[in-house]
Symmetry: C2
Subunit: 368 residues, 2 copies
């Protein structure tokens, strides 16, 4: 039911134009996936998301496991029915949130024991549990349960960690079994150490997953270290499988990653910035809080064709934000998610025309 | 530019079916007007409002005067352009908010001196100021600046108050002058004292306003006192002018008021209840917080055809509300406003069929 087709390779860079088939529809790549942490992309309806061109959503296993529970979502008919989204969904494994949100965590070979960040309840999650939860959710792409070690970690710890992550990947693969309507991706770890990254890529690609994610980047390391890792890592992953860089969601990072051969991206940034009054624009971020926008009756981004930019002024959105009106989060989220989706669409056209290097030059000149 | 046509009188009650023409479109009556206090109906876009049948919005002079100011809205091209609502708008005079929100207020013949509830800034508002602000906003129906005395007030205070409100109504009329694209309504006051209400209705109707509001009800008096007032007051107002009961927004109160000859209603209740997790339904209010809805996969109201009820379950909306997700306020607001608008539409049909008394009997039997 899941397949990836490599449609074209840009001859000016390592960028790829591809197409993923899933049981809930087709995804063109490179793709940006908006994040619906709690089974909702904050402040947007599924209809809003479709209108702005969303092809696939990401949702979070850790959060849904805590509330409302995967058992309840399964009773509702699965995550697609529960949240009224008929397109493809990718769920992460919960691994990242266990490390970034939960407390009192204790990692053993068997799994991770931790306390809920909401009510402190003790939870034990093994790779098999993560897969069982994702089976109940019914997402189209599911992720292997991994450890995302903090940076910096010692070489020894990092090596032990990725070796365990590889064993967990195998257990996830076994637990997933012959389920055909959900595709299980593995996650390459190894921080910013090239030898560990190479080891992780080699072990995991030998296990033949239908797709590969790059985890443990965009988690606080220096930008130069992220790009240096992306200079070689995508080349180590199978050409005929999609490559997903987790947690990246600025136009700059997406472009640099696509140039290096990455196909899929997700990030909470567009909706989070929106709730803080920041618009992502073709000239860089714009904080609507600034008093210079008080009587600015122009759109957030003059180059944007989204609903927000064609119907509302900076002055109006600034007024809504200052009055703490819900509509400001809605209008800014709609714009920001559109901005990223429109950006990857432009990238796709540039790849098809073998001109992504030129596109990147123009982008770097214009973007503040 | 403004006109009211009485289309039909129900022969089973005093209910009326009418039509208001304004420069921004036609309004069928009886009508419910959603409230956009800060130039936004909380959590809903103008497109959402149109889709659920909204014919006219109400916005608040007091709030817009403080933020973003009527001068800024005038520069934006008026309130319609500023908030992207092309239909009719009614603005209140600010009188009610001056009494319910502002502090340190001092009422003189000239006007009211008060402090902003936001930053404490001292403001002096005269009837002429309220009209000037509403002129800058450009709303289709504007209201005379009145005093809404607290209940209970002494007969002597109430009498002095309504006499001043009448003089202020004259000053508003003079300040409004020959402006044709905005219709100025007067507000009948007098609390629950019949002699004062009769005096107020007599004085104001003699001044020939294009419409009349009933103020000072639904402000904390007993329900029986409200209904007793409505038993005689609408009859004292001109038959050929619309009658607007301010601040009423439950189906029960709307129905009882329509039966007594009222045409227009507004209330923040549907959106406020929504933000507190309450759905207005055909069987009464439903608090989505209750644990009995945890695994309830049915709609908020099985009798409702709104977007929320046709796409989402109680279990999902409960999950969103508990996680403090913005979408819960949006989905509940959409449902609640639809509920009231759909209700007045059904009332219109019943009036056209001379059967509102039967409709009311059925309603009273079913509604908890």
């Amino acid at each position: 039911m899941f397949s990836f087709t490599l449609l074209h390779k840009d001859n000016s860079s390592k960028a790829r134009r591809g197409r993923i088939h899933t049981p809930h529809g087709v995804i063109e790549t490179p793709v940006f996936m908006p994040v619906g942490t709690q089974a909702t992309v904050k402040s947007l309806t599924p209809e809003n998301l479709k209108e702005i061109g969303t092809e696939i959503l990401l949702s979070n296993t850790y959060h849904l496991h805590l509330n409302p529970t995967s058992e309840l979502i399964e009773k509702a008919g699965g995550l697609h029915t529960f949240m009224n989204w008929s397109g493809p969904i990718l769920t992460d494994s919960g691994g990242f949130q266990v490390y970034s949100l939960a407390s009192n965590r204790k990692i053993t070979e068997e799994g991770v024991r931790f306390r809920s960040h909401i009510d402190g309840a003790e939870i034990f999650m093994r790779p098999e549990d993560s897969i069982a939860i994702q089976h109940r959710l019914g997402s189209d792409i599911i992720m292997a349960f991994d450890e995302c070690p903090p940076l910096p970690s010692s070489y020894d710890y990092m090596k032990k960690s990725i070796e365990r992550t590889h064993r967990w990947a195998k257990r996830c693969q076994d637990a997933h079994g012959c389920v055909k309507h959900q595709a299980l991706f593995a996650i390459v770890q190894g921080g910013t150490d090239e030898s560990l990254r190479r080891m992780s890529a080699e072990v995991l690609t030998s296990m033949d997953f239908p797709g590969y994610a790059i985890g443990g980047l965009s988690v606080g390391e220096k930008k130069v270290d992220m790009l240096r890792t992306l200079d070689y890592l995508p080349d180590l992953l199978p050409e005929e499988k999609p490559r997903y860089l987790m947690g990246v969601g600025t136009t700059r990072d997406i472009l640099e990653s696509v140039l290096r051969g990455v196909d899929m991206f997700d990030c909470v940034l567009p909706t989070r910035l929106a709730r803080h009054g920041v618009a992502m624009t073709s000239q860089g971020d714009l904080s609507i809080k600034k008093s210079i926008y008080t009587e600015d009756f122009g759109p957030l981004d003059p180059d944007c064709s989204c609903y927000t930019c064609t119907h509302y002024s900076r002055a109006y959105i600034r007024h809504l934000f200052r009055r703490k009106e819900i509509l400001s989060a809605h209008l800014l989220s709609l714009h920001n998610v559109y901005h990223l989706i429109d950006f990857v669409k432009k990238i796709r056209v540039a790849i098809e025309n073998d001109s992504l290097a030129d596109f990147a030059d123009r982008y770097r000149r214009n973007f503040r």
